[in-house]
Amino acid sequence: MPGKAVGEALVLREPISFQGEIDEEGFIVAAGHPYAGENVSTKILIYPEAKGSSGGCMMLRLLAKRGKKPAAIVNTRNLDANLVEGAILADIPMLCYPEKDPYDIISTGDRVEVDGETGILVKMS
């Protein structure tokens, strides 16, 4: 998905569903989710793949309307059509299938740059 973004990385090792696991303020609310309490808004969100109910794309659209959307999304394992719809509607740059394992390189809190057009993901600091 085209578009550029710079921001703070939020790295999740687990799949997440925008329908039901994230609230309207961008907080991860799923009980028992290892990242419960984190907020996705303005973050470069790096995680394996989307999961769960297909209402997820509408939630991304709503987060965008409320100014709470992630700055970019990087999925490492699988690209879900429903999530891509949400990214188009919410105008969020997206990358998938990075060549190197980002979990080896990027940690939560790092500043990273994403270019959805060229498919480049850079750790800045």
């Binding site: 793949e49 989307a50 297909s54 891509v84 719809e85 188009i88």
Partner: protein
Amino acid sequence: MKLTDQESRLLNGEEGEIKALAMSYLVKLGNAFDGKEMVDIAYAHMSSGSALREGEIEYLGELADRGARVVVPTSSEVIPVDLRDPEAIQAPTPIVKEHRKLLNIQRRMGIASTYTCVPFTQGYVPAKGTYIASMESAAIIYFNSVLGAKTNRCGYFVLYAALTGKYPKIGYLLEENRKGTHLVSLEANLNGSTDYGALGYHVGALVGSGVPVFEGIDQPRQEELMVLGAALATSGTVAMYHIVGVTPEGRTTGEALGGGQPQEKIIVSEREIREVYRKLHTAKSSIVDFVFLGCPQYTVEQIRVAAGLLDGRRVHENTTLWIGTNRMAFAMAERMGYYDIIKKAGGVLVCDTCPMLSFLRLDSLAKQGLPGPAFKTMLTDSPKQAKYANNTMGCETILDKVDGCVEAAVRGKWEG
């Protein structure tokens, strides 16, 4: 992406601005997946738009005002209230009014106001091999797996597909993505739809976005497959499965795997099935103030069974019982006397909505200025509803089969 002359005309606005807008979104989606072409779709199941998410109904209304009309048979998804009898579930009037507006917008656009997560129980039965566009994870997986129609995990873009009759040929519309990836041998006896749900919940978490191939499932009922699929798509992102000898693209294990080898072999025994019931039991108390049956929406047969269990009994005064269904099953339940039995027992046969998408969600209650959660403990026969009720409604949950659910509704207490 290569477009036909007709598709180019749609994109260029020669068939009107609405179709051009819709087509531009579909082309973006196709390009994101390196799609090569568009296909014609035979059917669409779309989001109704929810008054709980700001601007959705207004946006659909604007499109209708600008002349938007669907060009393929189109059904629509569950809404946050019951429009047949909103008082029976104390649905807030402003949200009911919004959705009466929606009903009118859908009439103008040619969309059937089915408000269902299981449109294939109401006459929307696309043929094997046809391309369709569906949202609702529980419907998507049934269309792909049981009927052999081909849909992606669509969301909002079903609207654009319905307005043009087109969808990019990507994902599960391509043969190579419909092949089995994981081989699942069932070594447990499944007894009723909730056990099928427990199987789906266990396997979905293991396969993620894979395509599981089940061996050892014999003569499943329609309702059991509905609950199996809904659960696979809750703990995972599963959009397709095969049951060897049962589903149309998996007549043999070899055909289900598309001639390849599975990435992984999974054996499921009684222990794993029981473990799902334990995992989705988050309630600390055995007092049950809410019992919900009907995720996915109950069929006439399931309503018959629940009414039989309730006949001549009375739901506990501190417990609310909802049985979720759609208007078509409701009409038959009314004719057969099941509605009267449920009503007399103090239960509510609810149309159009379900708790996890309803005005009882925590975010909706907060907007209405009401305290939440609406209920402390939900007992349900559905792994999907149990999982999401914890997150969206703030309920603690218990998972049990329909007979255990009805028994607890009468006693006000779950006794295992």
